[in-house]
Each structure stands twice: as structure tokens, then as C-alpha cells.
């Protein structure tokens, strides 16, 4: 008989106040499911939009309340040390929600495409009579709202998870809804379903690595809490090999979600095939969540073994920046171009992470927010350029848009300049922050590659700008839809924040600086 079986159980203390934001999101997602089950069809859309936005705003308000009531300065562990409520955790939760609100505005839009961007009944076979009928008439299904709430709640859980098991469960809680959301496009449904299959199979593959990594680290440290792993890394009598196998496998799972080379192959396909509002959600919120997890694991559990793994992750960061930029140059589809740019941007964040000191954390946090807002606005604009087949995403179709739609082209040019890192945009301040943090951390090689990669990456961005202004529009050029109130709001928020953080970065950088202390 195993002696531990007879041991008495100490009940975990749960500080419900400190984890209230996560509970609000997941609880409201359940409310959304109930609304979906019991409300008549016509009422569902307004109720779901309301539930979704109220949940996120309430969650955000709670996070701000927690941050003001000193949780950032006096961090706590709760629920049997499974969750950490600390500065970076609260900052990342807030970032997920702020970006999530903007993405929800894009998801809820129903006037750009009549009935919304999502399929009415996903179970109807794509390409059949019934499918054409539902594409013409029926409004989008509203399950997308509870699904996105579950995804956002999972991301918030993920960035504050303080042991590997909680982290794994949170990883799946935010991934599973995203797999489904990818498959729900109203037009080009086969493309969308293919994207979902690819994302799902590769995502499940990477999470299997994550599980095996957990098992190895459990074997090494005898516990999956980050603090215990950090202690075991110094003093454990067991072979370090076990720890490095475990760390490598965890890193595969996390870098997959962050879309780092060589775990990036799914990104362009999924970003292209998924409905554009969902792509916007993935490019902004998932990136924040994935890097939140990476930061916590590297800075809390593996800080003391950094001399061993930093070169390896450094090589991955260089590959991510360089390959992302090179492949972006060759793209002919705007969504794929943005996908490769998001891969390269993952490399820039990784550069900030590898500084392995306090301003590494704060600059990464800052970069994630700036990039999130810009990419949300960019994908929001992509939804507006349309022809009779839906969105016109091929770059050649964008020729001459500067003359047909000066406002759209102007805003898009501004966003592209921000991606390229021109001063007075948030792209510049963000890159400046991560690169100077990396220099301070002694990662000069990474910074050289980072600067080279951003120079290279400026070329595809500027090519789009040249295309829009200096080329004649084709005879059958796509029309630019008039954005509804929700999309307009999302675009305005994205563009204004991009400008604001470009001219006045200290407003957010100070918050990030005061938040940059993990509890461990």
C-alpha cells in the first residue's frame, strides 16, 4: 500500500477576488451557452453581443481594480499555488481583454457582409444547394461569441498559470474554441475547414509534446509547480538530461502557439483560411497569451539554467526573424503577408524575452500590446476590400485602391509604416524597446539580426503602399465596403492606439515597467 494514500488532504485556499476576472469570463461564456440554448433565434445576436462585451468590460474593470489595490506590488499565489496573481499576469490578462474587445467588435460586425462573416449552420455540407441558400439569406450563427469568450478566458488562465498542469488545461481551453472558430467562415468554406483541420492536427501534435514535457519535468522535479522546478534545477540530484528534454518539449508546445520558426508552418495557411475577424483575434490575443506563457516559464521556472538554453532559443529567434521576413517578401496574398509578418514579429518579441532581465519583461509586454492593436486594425481593413466572392485578398486586386478609397488606403499605409517601424508609430517604439532591452541583456547578435530583418520586412509593406497609390486600378477592381459602426470603432481604436503609443509610449511603458515582476 502506498503510504501517501493515507495522508490527509489539505484543502487549497482560493482567493476568489484575485481570480475574479477569469471567473467572470468563463462564467459569462456559460451564460452565453445557455442563451444559445434557450433564446429564440432573433434575440440571440443582440444578447450575445451584449453578454460578450459586458463580460470583457467587467473583467477588465476587475483587473484594473486588482492592479490598483496593490496586487502588482504584493503578488499572491492562490488555489493551491496553481494561479499567480502578479504584475505581468494582470498586465497580460488586461492586454488579452483589451485586444479581445476590439476583436469582438470585428466579429460582431454584420453590415459589411450581409448577416456577418460566419456561416449560419456549420453542419450543412459545404458547396451543396442548402449551403448556397444559407450563404445568401441566413444570418451568422451566434455560437462564435461564447466560443470567443471561452478562448479569451482560457488565455487569461494561461498567462497566470503557475504550474504546468494548469497551464496545459488552459492551453487547451483556449485552443479548442479557436480550432472551431477557424472552420466557421461564411464564404470559401472548404478553405476555412482545411485551415481548421491543419490547425487542429498540428496543434494537437504540439500539445502532445507539451504533455510529454510535463511528464519529464514532473519526473525531474517531483512537482509541476514552477517554483519547485526552479529549486530542483539548482539542487536536484537527478540527471539534468530529464530537465532539458522536458524543457525542449514544453518549448515546442509554446513556440508553436507563438508561431516561431520552425514551428510556424501552420500560420500562413490558418491565417488565410480562417474568417478574417478570427484571424485578427488569433494574431493579437493568441500571441499575447503564448508569450505570456513563455515569459513565465523562462523567467520563473528556468531562470537559473538560462546559460544552457538561451543560445538555443536565440537561434530560434534569429531563424524566426529572418525566415519570416524573407518569406513575407514573396507573398502575393495580403492575409499571408500579414501572417509571415506576424511570424517575424514573434521573433522580435522573443528577442526581448531573451534579454532575461527586468526590462526584457516590460519591453516584451509593451511590444505585444502595440503589435496587437496594429494587427487588429490591419485585418479589420482587409475585411472591407471586397468583390462578389467576398474579400479580395490577392495583392494584385489592391492596385489603385489609393484613388478609389483614399481614407482606407491612408489608414492602411499608416499601419504598414508602423509595421515597418517608422518613427512616430507604435511599431518603432515597440521595436526600440525590445532591441534596447536585448542590447542591455548582452544579446547583440540577436539585435543585429533583428534590425536586418526589419529592414528586409519593410520591403513587402512598402510594396503594398506603392501598389495602392502608384498603379492603375483594374477594370473589375474590388469595391470598398462602408464599415459599420462596430468595424469603424475597431479600426479607429487600432489606428489611434498605434499613433498614440508611437508619440507617447511612456503612457504604457510605465505601466509595463511597474508590472514587470513575476511572483516565484
Amino acid at each position: 500500500m502506498n503510504p501517501v494514500l493515507a495522508a490527509d488532504i489539505t484543502l487549497p485556499h482560493i482567493n476568489y477576488g484575485a481570480i475574479a476576472p477569469i471567473l467572470i469570463l468563463l462564467g459569462m461564456a456559460c451564460v452565453g451557452v445557455l442563451a444559445e440554448a434557450f433564446l429564440p433565434r432573433t434575440l440571440r445576436y443582440p444578447v450575445q453581443v451584449l453578454v460578450s462585451l459586458v463580460a470583457q468590460v467587467a473583467g477588465l474593470a476587475t483587473i484594473i481594480g486588482l492592479a490598483l489595490s496593490n496586487y502588482a506590488k504584493k503578488p499572491t499565489l492562490t488555489a493551491g499555488d496553481a494561479l499567480a496573481v502578479d504584475g505581468p499576469g494582470l498586465f497580460l490578462q488586461g492586454a488579452v481583454l483589451v485586444l479581445g474587445i476590439v476583436a469582438t467588435l470585428l466579429i460582431a460586425e454584420r453590415s459589411v457582409e450581409r448577416g456577418g462573416a460566419f456561416v449560419a449552420q456549420a453542419a450543412v455540407t459545404a458547396g451543396s444547394e442548402a449551403d448556397a441558400e444559407q450563404a445568401r439569406r441566413q444570418p451568422s450563427q451566434t455560437e462564435i461569441f461564447p466560443l470567443s469568450l471561452f478562448a479569451l478566458g482560457g488565455m487569461m488562465l494561461f498567462v497566470s498559470a503557475n504550474d504546468l498542469l494548469t497551464m496545459f488545461v488552459a492551453l487547451e481551453v483556449f485552443s479548442l474554441p479557436l480550432y472551431l472558430m477557424c472552420a466557421l467562415a461564411r464564404r470559401r468554406r472548404l478553405l476555412s475547414q482545411e485551415a481548421a483541420v491543419k490547425y487542429f492536427l498540428l496543434g494537437a501534435f504540439s500539445s502532445a509534446f507539451f504533455v510529454y514535457g510535463i511528464a519529464m519535468l514532473y519526473g525531474f522535479a517531483g512537482s509541476v509547480k514552477f517554483h519547485d522546478i526552479a529549486v530542483a534545477a539548482i539542487s536536484s540530484g537527478k540527471s539534468d538530461l530529464l530537465m532539458f528534454i522536458g524543457l525542449a518539449m514544453l518549448a515546442i508546445g509554446l513556440l508553436f502557439k507563438a508561431a516561431a520558426v520552425p514551428f510556424h508552418v501552420w500560420t500562413p495557411d490558418v491565417y488565410q483560411g480562417a474568417p478574417t475577424p478570427v484571424t485578427a483575434l488569433m494574431a493579437s490575443c493568441t500571441k499575447v497569451a503564448a508569450f505570456g506563457g513563455i515569459l513565465r516559464i523562462f523567467y520563473v521556472a528556468f531562470l537559473d539554467s538560462r546559460w544552457d538554453w538561451r543560445p538555443v532559443i536565440g537561434v530560434i529567434a534569429v531563424l524566426t526573424m529572418v525566415i519570416g521576413a524573407i518569406l513575407a517578401v514573396t507573398q502575393t496574398d495580403i492575409k499571408r503577408l500579414l501572417a509571415y509578418s506576424s511570424i517575424a514579429n514573434a521573433g522580435y518579441v522573443l528577442t526581448g524575452v531573451l534579454a532575461m532581465q527586468k526590462d526584457g519583461i516590460s519591453s516584451s509586454l509593451f511590444y505585444l500590446v502595440t503589435y496587437g492593436f496594429t494587427v487588429l486594425a490591419a485585418f479589420g481593413l482587409v475585411t472591407l476590400v471586397r468583390d462578389q466572392d467576398g474579400e479580395a485578398t490577392h495583392l494584385s486586386r489592391w492596385a489603385g485602391l489609393g484613388r478609389k478609397a483614399p481614407v482606407l488606403a491612408g489608414v492602411f499605409t499608416f499601419l504598414m509604416l508602423s509595421f515597418a517601424g517608422i518613427p512616430l508609430t507604435s511599431g518603432f517604439t515597440g521595436k526600440f524597446a525590445v532591441f534596447s532591452a536585448a542590447l542591455g541583456g548582452g544579446q547583440t547578435t540577436l539585435v543585429i539580426f533583428g534590425v536586418l530583418s526589419s529592414v528586409l520586412l519593410a520591403f513587402p509593406y512598402l510594396r503594398v503602399v506603392v501598389l495602392m497609390y502608384l498603379q492603375e486600378p483594374a477594370a473589375d477592381a474590388p469595391t470598398v465596403a462602408v464599415p459599420g459602426a462596430l468595424t469603424s470603432a475597431a479600426l479607429a481604436i487600432g489606428a489611434i492606439v498605434t499613433l498614440l503609443l508611437g508619440v507617447w509610449p511612456s503612457v504604457l511603458l510605465d505601466v509595463a515597467n511597474s508590472a514587470a515582476q513575476f511572483v516565484g
Binding site: E194, A208, M216, S223
Partner: protein
Amino acid sequence: MTPTYYLVLSAALFCVGAVGVLIRRNAIVVFMSVELMLNAGNLALVTFARINGSLDGQIMAFFVMVVAAAEVVVGLAIIMSIFRTRRSASVDDSNLLKY
């Protein structure tokens, strides 16, 4: 009965699963291989629970099983929807998305 044998077995199962994911062409079989990898993880967790003399590993295996079941449901739903359009579950047929 040294627990090491179970670790070797779990590593072997994990490799079988990984190779299966990489070389098989049917989405369902690929997915089964992923499940094999997850269960290899479970076996490793339970074995380490035995070696470490704590129950945590067994509890974790429960969680992994439940998550895997949820993954099965989501995955089968996605694969079924594409199968109904294409009449095929081969991952080689999924070739619309490139460049």
C-alpha cells in the same frame, strides 16, 4: 519490476505516435497517433508518480485524459465536416491553401 521499463515503453509509444503523425495520410489515423502520444505522456506521468511516491502524477493523468476526450470531440467534428464535402479524409487532399 523496475519502473524504468515503463518509461522506456512510454518513450517508445511516444515515438510510434510521432512517426505515425508524420507519415500517415488519413486525418483520422494522424489523430489516433496524436492520442497515442498523449497516452504515452500519461504512462510517463503515472510511472513518475510511482517513482516519486506522490499521487500528483496520477491526478495529472486524469486531467490529460479529459482534455484528450474534449480534443477528440472537437477534432472529429472538424474532420467530419471536411469529409462530408470531400468524401475523403486524406490530408493530401487538403491542398487549397498555399502561396
